[in-house]
């Protein structure tokens, strides 16, 4: 029987259900192991990311601490896959090794053999507590009075001193995506990310949709930054804000269990949502193999093919719930209706005739680099009218079109070369159009998790920052059905969700609009 990963907010007792109490004891056990041990808390943290000077400053690396062998560091450390189609499979294998390691520790302490990692479903709109930080992670002590290993100092939240998420932080529009693999060409970055080699940060980077939100946003909002901390100094930031320290916070594993669960939800919500069949994804990356230590002393070399089934022997888990946040709605039919098609007409169109071509094309841009210094920033987009008209034409519903094919364009707002030094920043993105009566619409949130590294000219991104692509198709559909024929003069507003200072040097190199379609 596979073990069941349960929702932390649905555990029987709050805050200290047995699942969390044993997690705390297991974590404590791992924290007492030395960095050179492959099953230690810090070794697992370094598998995600490692930086000698920041770890030393934070007290995770003490002078005189021996480091693991060069071979161990090369094989295991600094593997975290971001801005990549390996984001989901790599983190799944990583979590499995961690879960098994904690479980072994728990069993050694007399705990249950079927213990499984809980997850935090912050997006559950049916649960009034969902957005609240699970209290077991901020309690000073365990029920026994011992210090609580799940509590870490370096967790600063959104700057208000507490960690409470908002519904807009954790929206699940990513699950509306129809393709796993996306591209960096301006259109969809895919549910699971863009094709890359081994990607511990690369130069042309874009976050996959699930990775951008809720993943990045939650990282930034939990880790946060000291309210009066020096923006340039990594020591001002919380563990969860930076990839080099994120996995040292015990909440990391519950956050990632939830992201992993959302992958299952996405696959389940529609039969056309499928993982890549490409061998480069299934068996890659070819340039460096994923490797994680298991507590029996073995090393598991894995690729996506080894983790696509959560009931496979190495993983052996299921989730308590993988409910579709959209209640099974046929989003394609909803879109056709939104554009004015008669209800039910889409039933005639085969799944193959619904797929939008993945080629992306620029429609328009703003004409300035935006500097976000704390206040709301607004910019206007200028369009190439031919391309904009073509896009709007594909949204026109013609009855005869439903005979064989209905593949209206999708439209994406790109924030290009997003850079800065504040990994804890979160921006809300709003769009509006002067011709439409509708109020401006929020189209997504952007979390700056990893942006500092992406901005450094001597790190993997080559200083280019990150390019974000937000799906604004629904909003454009609404413009179209309100009778708007062109896209001229779209306004984009970037609204800081967290405190941002001029010294954060946050900028967006270009804001652009792309169409994706044949």
């Amino acid at each position: 029987m596979p073990r069941v990963r349960r929702d932390v907010w649905k555990l029987d007792q709050q805050p200290w259900d047995d699942v969390l109490l044993w997690y705390a004891r297991g974590v404590n056990e791992l924290m007492h192991r030395k960095l050179v041990e492959r099953t230690s808390w810090t070794f697992f943290g370094a598998i995600h990311g490692f930086d000698r000077s920041v770890w030393t400053d934070f007290g995770y690396l003490k002078s005189g601490d021996p480091l693991p062998s060069q071979a161990d560091q090369e094989q295991f450390w600094k593997q975290c896959q971001h801005q990549s189609w390996y984001f989901l499979p790599w983190h799944r294998g990583y979590l499995a090794a961690f879960e098994e390691t904690v479980r072994k520790a728990i069993i050694g302490l007399g705990g249950p053999a079927d213990w499984a990692l809980p997850y935090w479903d912050y997006s559950d709109s049916n649960n009034p507590n969902a957005l609240t930080f699970p209290p077991a992670f901020s309690a000073p002590t365990l029920p026994t009075g011992e210090p609580n290993p799940l509590l870490v100092d370096r967790r600063f939240g959104d700057g208000t001193g507490q960690i409470v998420l908002r519904p807009d932080d954790v929206g699940l529009n990513a699950l509306k995506e129809t393709r796993f693999e996306g591209s960096t060409a301006g259109g969809s970055t895919g549910f699971g990310g863009v094709r890359t080699p081994f990607s511990h940060f690369g130069p042309r980077s874009a976050n996959g949709r699930l990775e951008r939100q809720p993943h990045n946003v939650v990282h930034s909002l939990i880790g946060g930054r000291l309210p009066d901390g020096d923006p340039q100094d990594p020591r001002s930031y919380g563990l969860m804000s930076m990839p080099i320290t994120a996995a040292l916070d015990p909440i990391f594993w519950l956050h990632h269990a939830n992201i992993d669960r959302l992958w299952e939800s996405w696959l389940k919500r529609s039969p056309s949502n499928v993982n890549p069949a490409d061998s480069a994804w299934l068996t890659g990356p070819a340039d460096r193999r994923f490797a994680v230590p298991f507590p029996d002393g073995t090393t598991w070399i894995f690729s996506a093919a080894d983790v696509v089934n959560t009931k496979s022997p190495r993983l052996d888990y299921v989730y308590e719930s993988t409910t579709d946040p959209f209640g099974g709605a046929d989003l394609f039919a909803l879109r056709a209706e939104r554009l004015g098609a008669p209800a039910g007409v889409t039933d005639r169109i085969s799944p193959e005739a619904r797929v939008t071509e993945p080629e992306a094309e620029l429609i328009g841009t703003n004409d300035e680099t935006l500097r976000v210094q704390g206040d709301v920033v607004e910019t206007r987009l200028r369009m190439d009218s031919d391309v904009a008209r073509r896009t709007m034409n594909t949204l026109r519903v013609r009855p005869e079109a439903f005979a064989d094919r209905f593949a209206p364009d999708r439209v994406f707002l790109n924030l290009e070369n997003v850079s800065g030094v504040n990994d804890a920043a979160v921006l809300y993105v709003y769009v509006s159009h002067p011709a439409a009566d509708a109020p401006e619409t929020m189209v997504g949130a952007v979390g700056f998790f990893g942006v500092r590294e992406a901005t450094a000219p001597d790190e993997g991104h080559g200083g280019n920052g990150i390019t974000e692509s937000l799906d604004i198709t629904e909003w454009v559909d609404q413009l179209r059905s309100a009778g708007v024929e062109d896209l001229d003069d779209i306004r984009v507003r970037l609204v800081p969700r967290t405190p941002i200072h001029p010294e954060d040097r946050i900028s967006v190199g270009r804001v652009s609009l792309y169409r994706q379609g044949s």
Partner: protein, 236 residues
């Protein structure tokens, strides 16, 4: 010298990343241009780029410039996959070809200017003042020295830059020419010394050129890292 397992792994990693870069996005067409350039280099007799010691001291040496241009066409396109993909995807579709041409013009202008200085300047000096047998070792020594400097790594890091580009009108042309020249500048800074080696070697010119090219490609695929003094030709 024994080759350690970790060196073999690192080389293998480079080759596989290289393969990834050359097979995605703008990789295949650029590789085709490069191969065409290589064929021309071989067909024209190995691209004897530096005039012999007693050749006329002309300011503009057309055959030498032609040979240099061929060498650029053969060696540089695979280094530009990210930059060309960036120009292509971030430009309006109706302007894509034009923008790539303008990028290439900016890039080529910088390299041709650098080539003129290198070939008629540095390489000629080396050949003129050093006995034939010492020219090649001298060029290798210069290359090794440059490889060790922080400036070299800073240039190599800047080769990865993909700046925002204007989409409309003259601003679009200006930005993409500027991007081409900036990429050319970083590329010259990173590779000039390595290009010197095939330039002074007349025998087995094509083989040396291919070796330099392979090294430059591997270097370009590797991650950026802090600019610092380093042991040349070594990644860690």
């Amino acid at each position: 010298m024994a080759v350690s397992a970790s060196t073999v792994r690192a080389a293998d990693r480079h080759l596989r990343r290289l393969w990834f870069g050359l097979t995605t996005e703008a990789g295949p067409p650029l590789l085709a241009v490069s191969l065409a350039g290589l064929v021309l280099v071989l067909w024209t007799g190995g691209g004897n780029s530096v005039p012999h010691r007693h050749a006329a001291q002309r300011v503009l040496d057309v055959p030498a410039a032609g040979a240099w241009l061929l060498m650029l066409v053969a060696m540089m396109p695979p280094l530009l996959t990210d930059a060309v993909s960036h120009v292509w995807t971030r430009s309006l579709k109706r302007r894509r070809r034009r923008q790539v041409l303008l990028f290439t013009a900016g890039y080529g202008f910088v390299w041709m200017t650098a080539g003129w200085l290198l070939v008629s300047g540095v390489a000629r000096l080396v050949i003129t003042f050093l006995p034939g047998l010492l020219a090649a070792p001298a060029a290798v020594a210069v290359a090794a020295l440059w490889q060790a400097t922080p400036a070299k790594q800073a240039c190599l890091n800047r080769c990865h830059a993909l700046p925002p580009l204007s989409a409309f009108g003259l601003a679009a042309d200006r930005d993409v020419v500027r991007f081409g020249m900036a990429t050319g500048g970083s590329c010259v800074g990173s590779c000039w010394a390595l290009m010197l080696v095939p330039s002074v070697i007349n025998s087995a010119h094509a083989v040396v050129m291919l070796a330099a090219m392979a090294f430059m490609l591997a270097e370009r695929q590797a991650r950026c890292r802090p600019a610092a003094w380093r042991i040349p030709f070594r990644r860690r």
